[in-house]
């Protein structure tokens, strides 16, 4: 059923008894042209683009739990394309353009809200670094503005301008950045992909790879039986090393915990997404009214999906330093996701050394905002066997050759990216 205000009104007349499942509850077939491991945003988007852009509809998405149960369901919902290095810049802008048409593509309101993303700066050096990044964006056709203090004050009069330890001096603004409703992105892709014939199979955990005599991957073993595949794509950020290990691969990735927090719902308080430049704190306000905020990863390897107090305190300290008006707003919930932290802070989308197995991993902090772009270029790779031009630098062998994409300049130290 097509979703619209009219279908909603019609449904209301019948007490909403006629709505269908948002996506079909599929039973696994024996074989698919492409099997995607991971029913998160990236996996589902990949399936949708395979079906809609590349005409490959005999596709299954295997999810070990419920769709969106990984990082797609546990993030701070920010979308932006304000990256500074070749490789990232074009890719994230491709993703941004796909965000801008997502609702119409999918007939599902994922609440893409381009309220702006601002990165605040507090020193001349930081300003210059943002100028460099903003210029990269502009050279790549991406909107970027460097705001001075007066402009920031006008836009965000509630920041601490009086007695801040590290006074705000200005900010790098991307007006097209913003947020989207994370769960709805998952459901929207599931809804649309399912409509094109993609099988979405929940509670189906991959337990091994089926290989032929040449070592080529020809399918997967799952908790719901063997499933044959022409190609297998893994999009399991957070579990990449564990899944790759089943194929005998070691990755340049560590799993870390990133915490996020939401406050009680309050009436609209802040306009867009803000990132503090002198501490670890970024924040936006959801449509429901909660302040959604976060900071850095805890800094140690973890698969526990929960973090500890020092980072929670550090994040709130940043928040209070930036805008002491939130002192009496209450933190409602904290959670943690498993981050695929790569060795240079940038993602990996590539064929693997194992024939038939393709990888989409290492998303660090960039996973959610990459969702549509990641699906698009991964579908391209799976369909055409060559990287999409905007993902050509996300090679797995770049660490071996030295062609790292290191935005933060921290080197092979994942907890510093």
């Amino acid at each position: 059923m097509k979703y619209s205000i009219f279908s909603l009104a019609r449904a209301a007349l019948s007490g909403h008894k006629n709505w269908q499942r948002t996506w079909r509850d599929a039973t696994p077939k024996d074989r698919y042209d492409v099997v995607i491991i991971g029913g998160g945003g990236h996996g589902l988007a990949t399936a949708w683009f395979l079906a809609s852009e590349y005409g490959i509809k005999n596709v299954a998405v295997l999810e070990k739990g419920w769709i969106g149960s990984g990082n797609a369901g546990r993030n701070t919902t920010i979308i932006r394309s304000n990256y500074g290095l070749p490789g990232n810049t074009g890719f994230y802008e491709l993703s941004m353009k796909l965000w801008e048409r997502m609702e119409q593509d999918l007939n599902y309101n994922s609440m893409v809200s381009q309220r702006g993303v601002i990165n605040l700066y507090h020193s001349d050096a930081q300003r210059d670094a943002y100028a460099r990044r903003g210029n990269t964006m502009r050279i790549n056709g991406i909107d970027a503005e460097l705001l001075d203090l007066a402009a920031v004050k006008k836009m965000m009069p509630f920041l601490n301008y009086d007695n801040a330890r590290f006074p705000v001096q200005g900010g790098l603004l991307q007006r097209r950045g913003g947020t989207a409703r994370h769960d709805a992105v998952v459901w929207g892709y599931a809804h649309a992909a399912s409509g094109l014939g993609v099988d979405i199979i929940q509670n189906c955990e991959v337990t091994g790879f089926i290989r032929d005599v040449n070592g080529k991957v020809t399918g997967v073993e799952t908790s719901r039986g063997r499933i044959g595949a022409g190609k297998v794509g893994m999009a399991v950020a957070g579990s990449s090393s564990r899944v790759a290990d089943m194929a005998g691969l070691r990755l340049p990735i560590e799993s870390h915990v990133l915490q996020a927090f939401v406050s009680e719902a309050i009436k609209p308080l802040i306009p867009g997404v803000m990132t503090f430049g002198a501490g670890h704190f970024y924040v936006s306000q959801s449509d429901k009214g909660g302040l959604v905020f976060g900071g850095d990863i805890d800094g140690y390897n973890s698969y526990a999906q929960r973090g500890n107090l020092p980072v929670m305190e550090d994040v709130c300290e940043g928040g209070m330093a930036l805008m002491p008006m939130i002192g009496r707003v209450r933190l409602l919930r904290q959670w943690g996701g498993i981050m695929d932290m790569s060795m240079d802070g940038s993602p990996i989308i590539d064929k693997t050394p194992v024939d038939g197995l393709y990888i989409n991993a290492g998303w660090c902090y960039g996973g959610f905002k990459a969702t549509p772009g990641s699906g698009f270029v991964f579908a391209h790779l799976l369909a055409r066997d060559t990287p999409h031009e905007e993902a050509a630098r996300f090679r797995l062998d770049r660490f071996r050759t030295g062609a790292m994409i290191d935005e933060k300049g921290q080197g092979a130290q994942p907890n510093l990216h």
Binding site: L8, G90, L309, E317, G319, P324, M325, K408, G409
Partner: protein
């Protein structure tokens, strides 16, 4: 004049009638007593309508008497202290309290947004995912702002929080959450065993349900047992009882988070005191005695003001002597609900009827009914006739199909009890279902934690006391305490008989999550659309995501989902429990770390002297550094900085460079050690000499640089950049302890020991001669370039002198023990007066290093190689060192890498800016020809124009080429010439002279 407390009983309760308090709600004056909560005072004043719901703006009253409250949320206090979404049920009354209802306009009684109720057939769960998509641009412009305005409950203050917060640590053997019968019993057992005990109680009064439910313990009335117990605990020096303190989370290694509301019960904190304090409690064992939460039954109209949890009704009557209803009805499915009837009758109130869903009730209750003159109806409540003014009538579906009506002014509801499984589940333990009590009980608790009493599903008073006592005794023993716990407090156990009942089908909205307006039919819709997983259910309907985190709604919600999917409740499962247990003010997590004290501040030894000179300071990491020293009449920073540079280049100046990291490297293998961490060799450095060194990361990228001197055969003095001081120390300790443990080397940070000054300019030696003891030879022969040694100063103190230069001038750096730092600055001024000595700041320092082509932070960006910086020749080929192998990778030695070059504008009057990109001349900027960027710029007084350094593709091969500096973000475009990065004295004659 405050209104009369019409619903206050004449006697009883734990309120202090000698301490009346005036307060205002929605502008209207009321009075209450010390010991009231805002909710109990509103009840006492007959106020029923307290708030409006999130989505439909339905009128709502008070449902509970605790922190599980979904409805009675207010904006407490005014102005900068306004706190949105404050639970009236936990807010203590104080003189002058001001509260306002929220999420309504223009008033609580007449809320325009309640028009939403008309559209409620459309506003079902997830409706927004299906619409607002066309036209595309309307979402941000129209739909979303409207949704945002309508959502969001209360209003934050919008201005800086004027109160202070702090944080503290506590340590104990046994931490106990809750001071009800189980908690106090646990405290007794643990305390008597000799354990260090902390009891956290979120209420302002100790006793938990004893305060409302009474009973007999050890043959004494509960209140008497309570005061004896508290006295016994108070006499134990290592038992600490913290009221107004909520244990909200459990973290790894037995670390717990707790919030103490130190002064929230006062209009504002007394001077020097905080509003709230965040506790990090480290406990060997934890007993969760946090009780249970009574759960509602879902039926049409169950959100009408006047419908209240039965246990809350009891609390208001017995603890607060306030009567939510004069002639109430009870709807229960279990034995416990009847206690409310007993309490009401004892208080002289009337009972309209009891609706009991169970087939049988006890003879005792039957006789109670006949004595009280009220009917007992077997069946269920199916509807409410009432509205914002409260309940008028209730409709009852009798077992067997008949219907009945009961006139009443309030309905107490008891659907059974849910143990509080939050704390025990925060490490992803999943609670397990117990059929006998039809509830989830804790399972998979974090290490060291047990639940006891009602929190563990033991609902009888005797059982709570026993379980608590045993848990306390075991916890103390596990923590290594061997004292005698003594005898367990004894009380009878009440019968617990319950027939599970979650939802009564019927016409009209039946609410599961009252705050988020999630109805039973929303859950059915979610199931229909495939959102069957409890996590999908939660996310699709927002069930349990309100400020109460679903304390009264989650279990009912999943029970309804279980029913519609035909699964059992345990098969349906629970969502993941997330801390904090109750919402905690963000300010409390920040504590002292806000405003100027957000981070610590480091001051250089000459800081106060520089401040006296009128220096402008800049933040460099945690440091405050003098950026420049303005003089009267100078119109801007550039004029000051230019003067400082000229003064140095023509005479002499000095700058405090104490912020550099300084490390003593000692030991017989110190030289060998440095050879492994630097790309160049230090083992062959002569004693009395300094050398510039460059470190790589193991991935071959430049990490840090600095000058290192050999002061003795087994003693080097290493310096780092200011930014990397701590990290380099950590890295060197890693090398020493982990990578090269066979080397005999010792490291000590001496950054704070030495005040270090750079003295630069052609008259440096003249100035130094005034300060250094005349016996010291400062001549070029006696103290050549890159010399380093200890010298005596006039006046008897010793200093370290290094002939190194960052400016390209004849220069020294001099170190004195830090407490002499300020005197050193004064003495330099005094001695240098005759030479026109000029203090200079970090800006002039930066100008001179750019003029000299020295790389610094902007070039050491974490992505550049030694060769990129023009320092590739320093990479030794005769030894192994950190980063050597990876530095040889193909992409790191590619010929088209961006390397450091100088730039100068073709138009000499043109100002340069860092961050501009380099594009070949005559080309349209695009991703394909973005060849680098400007890293550092300055106005060079020496060149009398702006100059800069840039990282440019193949830059060194292109010296002399005119390229385009493209700076669209600042709207600038201009030509620059690529040039040798050393603008000043390229032969180095000045610094060696």
């Amino acid at each position: 004049m405050a209104g009369a407390q019409t619903n206050r009983l004449d006697k009883g309760g734990l309120i202090d009638r000698s301490a009346p308090l005036n307060f205002r709600f929605d502008g209207k004056s009321f009075s209450g007593f010390q010991g009231d909560t805002l909710a109990s005072a509103l009840v006492a004043n007959g106020v029923k309508l307290v708030g409006r719901s999130f989505k439909y703006h339905r009128p709502r009253g008070i449902l509970t008497a605790g922190s599980e409250e979904p409805n009675a949320l207010v904006e407490l206090r005014t102005g900068a202290r306004r706190e949105p979404n404050t639970k009236a049920t936990t807010a203590e009354l104080y003189e002058g309290l001001e509260a306002a209802s929220q999420n309504r306009w223009p008033s609580l009684a007449f809320d325009v947004m309640s028009v939403n109720q008309l559209f409620s057939p459309i506003f079902v769960a997830g409706f927004y995912y299906k619409t607002f998509m066309w036209p595309a641009k309307f979402w941000e412009a129209i739909y979303e702002p409207a949704i945002r305005r309508a959502a969001g409950l209360g209003r934050a203050a919008g201005v800086a929080d004027p109160d202070h917060y702090d944080k503290a640590w506590a340590h104990c053997d046994v931490l106990i959450a809750g001071s009800g019968p189980a908690g106090l019993s646990a405290a007794l057992a643990a305390g008597r065993s000799g354990a260090r005990v902390i009891v956290c109680e979120e209420d302002f009064t100790l006793g938990g349900r004893l305060l409302s439910d009474g009973g007999t313990v050890d043959g004494l009335p509960a209140s008497e047992w309570l005061s004896r117990t508290l006295a016994e605990l108070a006499a134990m020096p290592d038992v600490r009882i913290m009221t107004r303190t909520t244990l909200f989370g459990v973290y790894d290694g037995g670390t717990y988070g707790a919030l103490e509301r130190v002064n929230d019960h006062l209009p504002s904190p007394p001077e020097h005191q905080v509003r709230q304090r965040l506790w990090r409690i480290v406990a060997k064992r934890c007993v969760v005695a946090a009780g249970a939460i009574e759960r509602p039954i879902v039926f049409a109209g169950n959100d009408t003001p006047g419908v209240m949890m039965a246990s809350a009704m009891r609390s208001y009557i017995s603890r607060y002597a306030a009567t939510p209803a004069k002639r109430m009805a009870l709807f229960t499915n279990n034995e416990d609900g009847w206690r409310t009837v007993e309490t009401a009758l004892a208080a002289g109130l009337q009972i309209a009827a009891v609706i009991d869903a169970r087939a049988d009730i006890s003879p005792a209750h039957r006789s109670l009914a006949s004595k009280g003159g009220f009917p007992v109806l077997h069946g269920a409540v199916s509807g409410i006739d009432g509205g914002k003014d409260g309940v008028r009538k209730i409709a009852v579906s009798l077992t067997g199909g008949a219907r009945a009506e009961v006139e009443t002014d309030g309905l107490a509801v008891s659907g059974g009890w849910n143990p509080t499984v939050g704390l025990t589940s925060y490490h992803r333990g999943r609670p397990k279902w117990r059929d006998d009590i039809a509830a989830f009980v804790p399972d998979g608790a974090p290490p060291g934690m047990v639940a006891a009493g009602a929190a563990n599903g033991a609902f009888g008073l005797g059982a709570c006391l026993r379980e608590g006592f045993d848990a306390g005794a075991v916890a103390a023993r596990d923590a290594g305490r061997s004292g005698t716990a003594g005898s367990v407090p004894v009380a009878d156990d009440q019968a617990f008989s319950l027939t599970p009942l979650w939802h009564i089908a019927g016409k009209g909205k039946a609410f599961v999550d009252q705050q988020h307006d999630v109805t039973a039919s929303d859950i059915e819709l979610a199931q229909r659309e495939g959102f069957e997983s409890v996590e999908h259910l939660k996310r699709y309907t927002t069930l349990g995501m309100a400020t109460d985190q679903g304390k009264t709604s989650n279990v009912a919600g999943l029970a309804i989902m279980a029913a519609v999917t035909g699964r059992s409740i345990p098969e349906t499962g629970t969502t993941i429990y997330r801390p904090p247990y109750v919402p905690v003010a963000i300010g409390a997590f920040a504590g002292h770390h806000r405003d100027e004290t957000f981070h610590a501040t480091r001051l250089t030894p000459s800081h106060h002297w520089a401040a006296e000179q009128g220096a402008i300071f800049v933040d460099t990491g945690l440091w405050k550094r003098a950026q420049w020293y303005p003089r009267a009449g100078e119109k801007d920073w550039l004029e000051s900085v230019t003067r400082e540079v000229k003064a140095v280049r023509s005479g002499v100046g000095f700058c405090d460079v104490s912020t550099l990291g300084k490390i003593d490297v000692h030991g017989p293998d110190a030289g060998a050690f440095l050879d492994r961490v630097y790309i160049n060799t230090f083992s062959n450095l002569a004693v009395g000499k300094a050398r510039y060194g460059l470190m790589l990361r193991e991935d071959g990228i430049v990490y840090d640089d600095g000058t290192t001197s050999r002061l003795a055969e087994d003693h080097y003095f290493l310096t780092t950049t200011t930014a990397k001081a701590g990290l380099v120390m950590q890295h060197l300790e890693f090398c020493r302890q982990v990578l090269f443990p066979e080397l005999d080397v010792q490291l000590t940070s001496v950054s704070d020991q030495w005040a270090q000054f750079s003295i630069a300019g052609p008259k440096t030696r003249d100035l130094l001669k005034e300060i250094v003891d005349p016996t010291e030879d400062l001549s070029n022969e006696g103290f050549p370039f890159m010399g380093a040694r200890e010298v005596a100063l006039r006046g008897g103190i010793k200093a370290r002198l290094f002939r190194i230069s960052f400016s390209g001038e004849m220069a020294f750096e001099i170190s004195v023990p830090a407490r002499y730092g300020e005197a050193m600055a004064r003495n330099l001024m005094l001695a240098g007066k005759q030479f026109g000595v000029t203090p200079y700041g970090t800006e002039a320092l930066g100008v001179m290093r750019i003029e000299k082509g020295h790389v610094a932070g902007p070039e050491l960006s974490g992505t550049t190689t030694a060769a990129d910086l023009g320092l590739g020749k320093m990479m030794s080929t005769k030894k192994d060192y950190i980063g050597r192998v990876m530095a040889g990778r193909e992409a790191l030695v590619a010929p088209d890498r961006q390397v450091v070059v100088g730039i100068k504008p073709t138009d000499r009057a043109r100002r340069l800016r860092s961050g501009a990109h380099i594009i070949p001349k005559g080309q349209t900027p695009g991703p394909g020809n973005d060849q680098g960027y400007v890293t550092s710029v300055c106005f060079s007084p020496t060149s009398d124009q702006w100059i800069g350094l840039a990282l440019v593709e193949r830059g060194r091969e292109r010296i002399g080429e005119i390229v385009h500096a493209h700076d669209p973000i600042r709207g600038e475009d201009y030509d620059v010439e690529l040039c040798n990065p050393v603008f000043y004295d390229p032969d180095g004659g000045r610094q060696r002279g």
